[in-house]
């Protein structure tokens, strides 16, 4: 059942058409851990500076997130990102990036993490993601990798090398196109499945997500929302729900991955309701079950064939 998560832990400052956040807690690793810990214990790998609040670390520990792999650089500052979303909420401008302790992050996999059956590589430099794979003495049952267009622009070769080592890649639609030069997502998927991964998830934001494996395809809806308050972390939360469900059920069949995508989509639909991780901290098991039932209604249909 052991799940290892690698990803940034950060401060974010976010502007949306609905408002402006303070400097709040963010980072791919943070969102993944908050989300996946609803399903399974998490062994976290990350780095923070001395300015990262102890209370935040304690809150994760209380949720069964093991922080042995989180380096605390007392004299350094935590990664900081600030951005502004456009009116359509699908595009954003980065206003400021301070890499700080993330700039020379060298992950160290603790001995107690060596039993990892599931590895979730949150968005980070592909060389850092690769380093974690290489430190594991036994290959996990499933390695899932998230990434973003940024690495395609500055480190494409490095990125492709890491992609070739994972079982499942998650990207959004524009990233799938950028990675392959194919406009058709079906052609882009075929090209990515030749790069190494056996599974591919293409996230399409408000249009849901697609799962590809061989000639099989699954199309998951997104919950139609009146408003997306803050999209930050939605993709990471999706990843956390996806890998959390798989790690909990220890079943990596295509059918169970379908369910895992619905779990990830449901969790992401909470994430966007408030700034940062706020909503993920509030929701209960009952809230999650209610949301999952909405997805069943949303996507379910009966048809008589023949």
């Amino acid at each position: 059942m052991s799940l290892v998560v690698v990803g940034s832990m950060a401060f974010d400052a976010i502007e949306t058409p609905f408002g402006k956040s303070d400097k709040i807690i963010g980072g791919a690793g943070t969102y993944i851990a908050w989300c996946a810990s609803n399903y399974t214990p998490v062994k976290q790998i990350s780095v923070v500076g001395g300015d990262f609040p102890q209370a935040e670390l304690d809150a994760l520990t209380a949720r069964n997130v093991d922080l042995e792999g989180v380096q605390i650089k007392k004299d350094g500052k935590t990664f900081f990102w600030s951005g502004r979303y456009h009116m359509d909420m699908n595009t954003r401008d980065t206003l400021e990036t301070q890499l700080n302790v993330l700039g020379d992050f060298e992950p160290v996999v603790p001995e107690s993490y060596q039993d990892a059956e599931f590895l979730m590589l949150g968005n980070l430099a592909p060389s850092v993601q690769r380093s974690v794979i290489e430190q594991l003495k036994t290959r996990p049952k499933l390695i899932v990798m998230d990434t973003m267009n940024f690495w395609m622009e500055i480190a494409m070769d490095d990125l492709k090398q890491t992609i070739s080592m994972v079982d499942l890649l998650m990207v959004n639609d524009s990233e799938a196109r950028e990675l392959t030069g194919e406009y058709s997502l079906v052609k882009a998927a075929a090209a990515i499945l030749k790069m190494g991964p056996k599974y591919l998830i293409i996230k399409k934001g408000e249009h849901g997500a697609l799962l590809f494996h061989g000639s099989k395809v699954f199309c998951a809806p997104a919950l139609p929302l009146e408003e997306v308050f803050d999209p930050t972390g939605a993709g990471d939360t999706f990843a956390g729900g996806f890998i959390g469900h798989l790690a909990k059920t220890k079943n990596i069949s295509f059918e169970n991955m379908k369910t895992a995508i619905i779990v990830g989509s449901a969790m992401a639909s909470f994430c966007v309701e408030k700034f940062g991780t706020e909503r993920l901290r509030e929701i209960t098991k009952a809230d999650i079950d209610e949301r999952l039932a909405e997805f069943v209604q949303l996507a379910n249909f009966n048809i008589e064939l023949g």
Copy 2:
């Protein structure tokens, strides 16, 4: 079981990144009839010129499409449209429109159509659509209306009047936004459901379709396609499959509308494979069943709640 379909019958000339068609048979009414006649007899209302091939009319008659309501203006010319699709296949430029006999079309509902239980108003001037509703002495069980942005730009008041008289409106996502001034599709849907219709379908092309009714939502996937060869008529074909299934089953429950949307989506996925109506003329019941089975695999998932 009687279904009345109103819509243009036309000549089209189409350019896509994949090629250029001759002057071929098109028109919303044509696509709807070719598609819906897989499910139920159709009573067609339209107008053509003396240049419209008799063989085309005979082909529809052979499919149980009653043409008593199709006016043939011997001295007139059939409506002609030519357009060019952009690389993304979601946008197109109209190169030429010759309204011809459609310009002063006054539909006449034959006495034998008065038993209509289902009325499908294909995209046409809203005043023409309204005239058909007004000529029916008994209100059909379900009136479905398709329209397009063109009428929002030149006849918004007229359009809203017709919308207020129908049970179900179908538009695409950009049209839903234009009609309401709301960017969020959930807000746009709420606004449209206040205009009169009890049901709303928002078509999202490659991203599928949404059905709204009160607080209920259903999200149908589109089949991920390697290539869309020619999108012309996909929306009309969707409408034909949707209304054809409802008319065949005589069941207008929300659950059956879900199934009808899947049927429409499956039929539309054939339409885009070749120019014009070509593919719709080829497919067999077995082809359709196979495609529907693909949709089940595409959208189906199991989840344990609680």
